[in-house]
Amino acid sequence: MIGGLFIYNHKGEVLISRVYRDDIGRNAVDAFRVNVIHARQQVRSPVTNIARTSFFHVKRSNIWLAAVTKQNVNAAMVFEFLYKMCDVMTAYFGKISEENIKNNFVLIYELLDEILDFGYPQNSETGALKTFITQQGIKSQTKEEQSQITSQVTGQIGWRREGIKYRRNELFLDVLESVNLLMSPQGQVLSAHVSGRVVMKSYLSGMPECKFGMNDKIVIDKQGKGGTTDDSGKSGKQSIAIDDCTFHQCVRLSKFDSERSISFIPPDGDYELMRYRTTKDIILPFRVIPLVREVGRTKLEVKVVIKSNFKPSLLAQKIEVRIPTPLNTSGVQVICMKGKAKYKASENAIVWKIKRMAGMKESQISAEIELLPTNDKKKWARPPISMNFEVPFAPSGLKVRYLKVFESKLNYSDHDVIKWVRYIGRSGIYETRC
């Protein structure tokens, strides 16, 4: 079990230290600093064993979070717990940065008190935690609130308070996906996957029951069997195969397993309903075609073509192509048809930015790179060309088919709820080797 939790800044100064078990001494804090943060070489492993004490660390921007234990624990669980903790902290005060942690250190201690006890993870749902954390301090609780705490911990629905009321019942649903791609210079897909999240924001009164449907292959196939047979060919194309998915605690998994229907009582406010991953039939929004030619020892010619591969009516945004250049580059001439391209010597790359680009278009950049003659015989390793973009559709092909709200006790129905759905596809690690 987790014996202690420490948070450091990039210099190795302790920002937060909380010890849960006796076997973790004060010197553990320093051991991690000396052996990992101040170590010369690269991080060898996310788990470090120093004097029979194991340190699990996660780095967020320049903040180190370390969980310490002397026992032989389940490593995956500790890591997942650290991520959960990051999520909880982000939900409370935004980005995890040194300044934010310093400003909220009382709050963090409060959080650490609740989410871990004696090294065992306890309730880690942001919504439910809100009742225990008294950020504002001086506020003696009323009888009503006290009873809430009791019902919250005992009740089945730990993530939602009772008696929520809104004048306007609204529901926002975002499908956020990130496409990851590794392509060979010949245009062969080496690996591609989409990791997506369904993020919701709900402002609903009472204890509503929601039902969410998407074009998951298993569901569609099931329905196809019941309906007409000639329809299955069409729907087969439009449904997607989800490799694995994770749900928010509120989703009734038993119902999902039996009927593949996603029904839940939503938490109030922001939350992540589901997380999924697909690997098949991914729509790759862009293709990068690189051409690198070495002209003699002091010159390189690079030509990169990007092709957008989606409906012409859609617009991709924030496109950025990063073409790495060798270390001994002395000068670069760039010609591009669209957008702006610049050679950034500090980053050793040509950065080509295009604000907007419609589907089924093509754009090209060509650059001449002059190299300094060196006697270094090292061949240039040719890092891959990476790309960033944002597109208004889901590259996995996921579609929301319906989202229904039922609330039996209060007098509003599914039609009264205003629903917003939006798809955003972003690039994850989108690389093409050259």
């Binding site: 302790v14 006796d22 004060r26 804090v29 690269q42 991080v43 060898r44 492993s45 996310p46 788990v47 064993n49 699990f56 996660v58 032989n72 389940n74 490593a75 995956a76 890591f79 997942e80 717990f81 650290l82 991520y83 250190f105 009382v106 004696f118 065992y120 993870p121 306890q122 309730n123 880690s124 749902e125 225990f132 008294t134 950020q135 301090g137 001086i138 003696s140 609780q141 006290q146 705490i149 911990v153 005992t154 089945q156 730990g158 590794l182 080496l190 996957h193 990791s195 694995d244 994770t246 605690q249 997380r275 991953r277 015989k377 390793a381 890092p383 891959p384 990476s386 690690i429 690389e431």
Partner: protein, 721 residues
């Protein structure tokens, strides 16, 4: 002291905290308290403020209370007498009408780490167990566990009774009962078991599920029916969305169904998808954990991930620790279909910016070369053309290992080495090149000239290991090509004996010199050993291990820390193996039969290999009986019967026949090699030769071991004839 002027700071804080004006202003007061906590976090000793802080706990502000409690818990063990004073405040809080305050006080009271606390806590805990707010009950249950860890032999019978009561009457769901599990003292596993049945695991959050699964590991089902009941109940968790739950379930399946290999195989098959998904998880740490577990599963089922090899291709921006793991997995996954793609991929890593990674990639290609030598040799030769020091060095080292393991590639390697113009610059690479030149000088026509270059540059050579290798290689070279080598060998010996300051090198030179004085034939006998040893690849080549070999460490830190931890644990388990080992040592060692062997925890191939290479041979003996002509399985089973574990052996009737075995005895680990030489070769008979290595040394145990081994072999021989 890390912070200058710390005493001043503490004094100042003390003054501020006792200032009545500050007390009056709540906000200012709280600010000072958070300041104290901030200094405490930074490592300043603020224990002098204990009394003032205790006073500050009397407040309605819960946030302030939490901070003060945190302070108290940290310093209670330093100031036990003062902490006792604080207890009264805490006990008062335990009776507060607000459940939050009650829970908080109870939790922190249990966190006080000092002896003698139990008498004060016991009563509040028992009261807490009956509290009407479940928040408090949850805290109270964990309090029992804390109390137990503070004083392991406390009687918490009453508390335990209350837990039962609590469970059955109030039917607390999830957290409360879950904490009961954590109270792992004395709660019978039957109770745990009934809990799993009676409440729905699915309603628990993932932490809780993972924990319950871990607890179930201790449960021994009474019958097969019950076993299958449990397994079918937990079936859906094999594909849980949380990696840690999946892995925990898998471990439970593997461990509980150890008698049903079909169930195990099925569980492995079904978890392969979630495991692969973990390997592609967004967070790198989780990905790393996933990879390590995949590696472990592959020890028994190498084919399971064969078709998914592309998942293990490295991304450019991944951290090196992930890349290393992925390469190790790729090497294991190679088969006829994917070999060219995998090699292509590995080759692209060879030019990576990080020399470490590049070298690892080259070594990985070398591993594959043991099976697909032609393709790999092409790639390795191509890499030499890059003319980069670290790559050249790594390639030469790979060549050395390759030649040792598969002699059929010798000719090709020699050709390449001859064509290779530039030489490695680091000592490891130099040693490898020299070894190749010395061992296979007859096939590399330019060998003497390359070596001459080294001898001429001897004065600037820093590493003594290279010098020693150079000496040995030159002598070997002299044996096969005397005319070209004689002159430079003379110079080398002269320099090393007369001018060298390193004693080891000089001794080696003197040894060579005196050896040569005895005559060429004598030297040849001493210097030339076998040029390759294909039987060693039996050790490194993987066989499918039984699943039970690794279930015990699955889903723990073991697979993540990998090899580094393995020898340690092996030694630990060997050391504290039988508790009676100390007594046994005291027994007079009159008869060899006194010795008892035990299997202990299994050794991995890597551990064995490492120990085998590290240790010296303590004992060598001809056993006087030939290799039993029984099937290998019979031999293995027979050895197992007397608690000797077989690690690997040469298949079939190949000569030389070798087997590696190990066992444990009274605190020592015995490693042994059985060797049957070539029957046709002159000077060797049919009899087996055993070489024994041991850690730590215990001659008595070796004698016992050898005599047991002898009797087993004799019995087997009688049987088979």
């Amino acid at each position: 002291m890390p912070y200058f002027g710390s005493e001043e700071t503490v004094k100042e804080l003390k003054r501020a905290l006792s200032n009545p004006n500050v007390h009056a202003d709540r906000l200012r007061y709280k600010n000072y308290i958070s300041k104290v906590i901030r200094y405490m976090t930074q490592g300043l000793d603020v224990s002098a403020l204990f009394m003032d802080m205790v006073k500050a706990s009397a407040t309605v502000d819960i946030a302030q209370k939490k901070l003060v409690y945190l302070y108290m818990c940290t310093y209670a063990s330093d100031k036990p007498d003062l902490a006792l004073l604080a207890i009264n405040t805490l006990r008062k809080d335990c009776a507060d009408p607000n459940p939050m305050v009650r829970g908080l006080a109870l939790r922190n009271m249990c966190n006080f780490r000092m002896p003698g606390m139990t008498e004060y806590i016991e009563q509040p805990i028992v009261a807490g167990l009956r509290d009407k707010a479940s928040y408090v009950r949850r805290v109270a249950v964990l309090g029992c566990a804390k109390m137990h860890s503070l004083q392991p032999n406390t009687d918490i019978g009453r508390a335990k009774y209350s837990v039962y009561l609590n469970y059955y009457t109030l039917r607390d769901p999830s957290l409360c009962v879950l904490n009961c599990f954590r109270l792992n003292t004395g709660l019978m596993s039957d109770f745990v078991f009934s809990c799993v049945f009676s409440f729905r695991m699915k309603d628990l959050d993932s932490w809780a599920q993972s924990e319950v699964l871990t607890f179930l590991l201790r449960y021994r089902p009474r019958s097969d029916d019950q076993l299958f009941d449990i397994l079918s109940l937990l079936d859906s968790f094999l594909q849980s969305a949380h990696a840690h739950v999946t892995v925990a379930t898998l471990r439970l399946f593997l461990q509980l169904a150890s008698a049903h290999p079909a169930v195990q195989a099925d569980a492995l098959l079904r978890t392969s998808a979630p495991l692969l998904a973990t390997c592609g998880a967004a967070s790198r740490e989780l990905r790393f954990a996933g990879l390590c577990h995949v590696q472990q599963v592959m020890r028994s089922q190498p084919g399971l991930f064969g078709t998914h090899y592309k998942r293990f291709f490295c991304g450019y921006s991944e951290p090196t620790y992930i890349k290393f793991r992925k390469m190790e997995i790729l090497v294991e996954l190679v088969n006829d279909e994917n070999v060219s793609l995998v090699l292509e991929e590995l080759r692209s890593y060879c030019t990576d910016v990080s020399p470490e990674l590049a070298q690892a990639a080259i070594a990985a290609i070398g591993r594959i070369a043991r099976t697909y030598s032609e393709k790999c040799l092409d790639i390795l030769t191509g890499l030499l053309a890059l003319k980069q020091d670290h790559i050249t060095s790594a390639v030469i080292q790979t060549f050395r290992d390759l030649v040792w393991f598969c002699p059929q590639s010798t000719a090709a390697v020699c050709q390449t080495v001859e064509a290779c113009v530039d030489s490695p610059q680091d000592s490891e690479g130099k040693q490898a090149l020299l070894w190749l030149l010395g061992e296979h000088g007859d096939q590399i026509s330019s060998a003497p000239y390359v070596m001459e270059g080294y001898i001429d540059g001897l004065k600037t050579e820093l590493s003594s290991a290279v010098k020693m290798e150079l000496l040995t290689a030159s002598v070997k070279m002299f044996l096969c090509r005397p005319a070209e080598t004689q002159d430079m060998l003379g110079r080398l010996l002269h320099y090393c004996i007369e001018e060298e300051s390193d004693v080891c090198v000089r001794d080696r030179a003197l040894l060579c010199y005196r050896l040569l004085q005895r005559g060429v034939e004598e030297t040849r006998k001493v210097v030339t050993g076998p040029k390759s040893d294909p039987s060693m690849s039996v050790l490194t080549g993987r066989q499918e291990e039984p699943i039970s070999q690794w279930t015990a460490t699955f889903n723990t830190l073991g697979p993540l820390s990998g090899r580094d931890l393995c020898p340690q644990t092996a030694v630990i388990s060997a050391a504290d193996q039988p508790s009676s080992s100390a007594e046994k040592e005291l027994l007079p060692d009159d008869t060899d039969e006194e010795i008892s062997l035990s299997l202990g925890s299994p050794l991995s191939h890597e551990t064995f290999e490492k120990m085998w290479l590290d240790l010296e041979i303590l004992h060598r003996q001809t056993l006087g009986s030939p290799r039993p002509r029984t099937a290998p399985d019979t031999l293995q089973a027979a050895l197992q019967l007397v608690k000797i574990q077989t690690l690997a052996f040469t298949p079939g009737d190949t000569v030389p026949w070798k087997a590696y075995i190990y066992t444990r005895s009274t605190g020592t680990l015995i490693l042994a090699e059985l060797l049957q030489g070539d029957q046709q070769a002159p000077g060797s008979d049919e009899s087996l030769v055993v070489s024994v290595k041991q850690q730590p040394v215990n001659q008595h145990a070796i004698r016992g071991f050898v005599s047991i081994l002898k009797s087993v072999l004799q019995t087997l021989n009688v049987d088979s004839s």
